[in-house]
């Protein structure tokens, strides 16, 4: 799946789909969506912190900042979040 061109609204409010379960692992975490029956891998502990912060932070950008993602790293995290949204792991919520 190509992820780098997928749009993702960093300033929107997001959360994990309620049918997604997270299991932390040494390399980051495993995600499983019971609806689509798909697995995804979060390949860094920082990305796990970003994903966990989505529901509390006003925007995905804020969740990234909160997890310590610096400006130059942001495109990579945006691409990762876009991939998660494309596979319906993440859904929009009202702010």
């Amino acid at each position: 799946m190509s992820t780098k061109d997928a749009p993702f609204d960093l300033d929107g409010a997001w959360r994990l789909d309620e049918r997604v379960s997270i299991r932390p692992e040494r390399f980051g975490a495993l995600l499983y969506h019971f609806g689509t029956r798909r697995l995804s891998f979060l390949r860094s502990p920082v990305l796990l912190e970003v994903v966990r912060g989505l529901a509390e932070q006003p925007s995905a950008r804020a969740a990234c900042v909160r997890a310590g993602v610096r400006g130059a790293e942001l495109p990579r995290y945006r691409a990762a979040l876009a991939a998660l949204a494309a596979s319906r792991m993440l859904v929009r919520r009202s702010p």
Binding site: L39, R43, R76, A79
Partner: protein, 420 residues
Amino acid sequence: MTSLVEEFQYGLDAPICLTWELTYACNLSCVHCLSSSGRRDPGELSTAECRALIDEFERMQVFYVNIGGGEPTVRPDFWELVDHATARHVGVKFSTNGVAITDEAARRLAASDYVDVQISLDGATEGVNDRVRGRGSYATAVRAMERLAAAGFAGFKISVVVTRDNAGQLDAFAAIADRYGAQLRLTRLRPSGRGADVWDELHPTAAQQRALYDWLLAHGERVLTGDSFFHLAGYGQSLPGLNLCGAGRVVCLIDPVGDVYACPFAIHDAFLAGNVLRDGGFARVWRSSELFAELRAPQSGGACTACSAYDACRGGCMAAKFFTGLPLSGPDPECVRGHGSTALATVPAGSAPRPSQDHSHRRGPVRVTISRRRPADRAGFESPLAGLPPSPPPPLRPASRASAMAPDKASVSNGRHVAG
């Protein structure tokens, strides 16, 4: 960033792909049954023990279990256990020959996000299927698929073990899956259980393997494989999914009596990690067994490390080597470079390890036409297929090459195919 393959080598806190065989009892006697099933074992876990194991899966955050057997639905408490698992947020994917998929069961299954069904079908036509799975098994599977489709169960799985007889039917299997709104799953024939008796005759030829690889490259996004064809990565391009032996690292098997093996294809004392009742629970076995620690340690590729394909195929399938009598540090018996067939020629007849247990029906409903291999067969005196009409494999479709899979560069990998 290290690759997922590297990370997975060292194991996970809980398996991704946990197979739980609920019973050795089965109404069929498939010639290639990897668990040599047929008769129930008197020591099978009780309902209470099964429920406690499911509770442990929940604590370990095992996302889902692949329930099989035997035929799991012949357990009287099967539906109770499925309900208990879903109540504990442990997803269930169960493999069945379809015998218990009534209209009511189909409606019930269609209504749950947490339950997936996999219908076993080893021929796209009745003749090819029933020769391996037994008379009437094709009709049973078709009836189950019709009921699931009628109940609106979208995306159930049709699970096919690729053999010499059905390797030319891949398009026909895909058409069957389309007809029922199902997803096709292709897996590798292993010489495990009774499969050891028919492997010589039924494993795909080298030409069929190549055609299968090309077909998977062309259709891999739509087809699940349980990541079972990673030995074919030796052809060049990796197939979607995890190209690594997951045994004891991301995969394991719990058998009907609670024994934990490194993988579903390795029911042998050499791969027995412990028992969920006697050794302090499943989590303890998964995290602390000596066998699993060994499997998670860096492996030596042995003779294979000199081969340019080793980084791709990683030496292939441990169980396939073991049950064909090959050393674990050597090539896979179906090595795409041909090293396996060379090595097989040096294995003395009758020296391959046998499965540690056998629950095959002693008599009764053995409705199969392929006979068990007798020792003489190894020496080539008699073919187990003797007496059957000759059935040369149908011509394979022309190889079509797929567009290259995008290499995984993002921080997220979508593992639809991992252990699917």
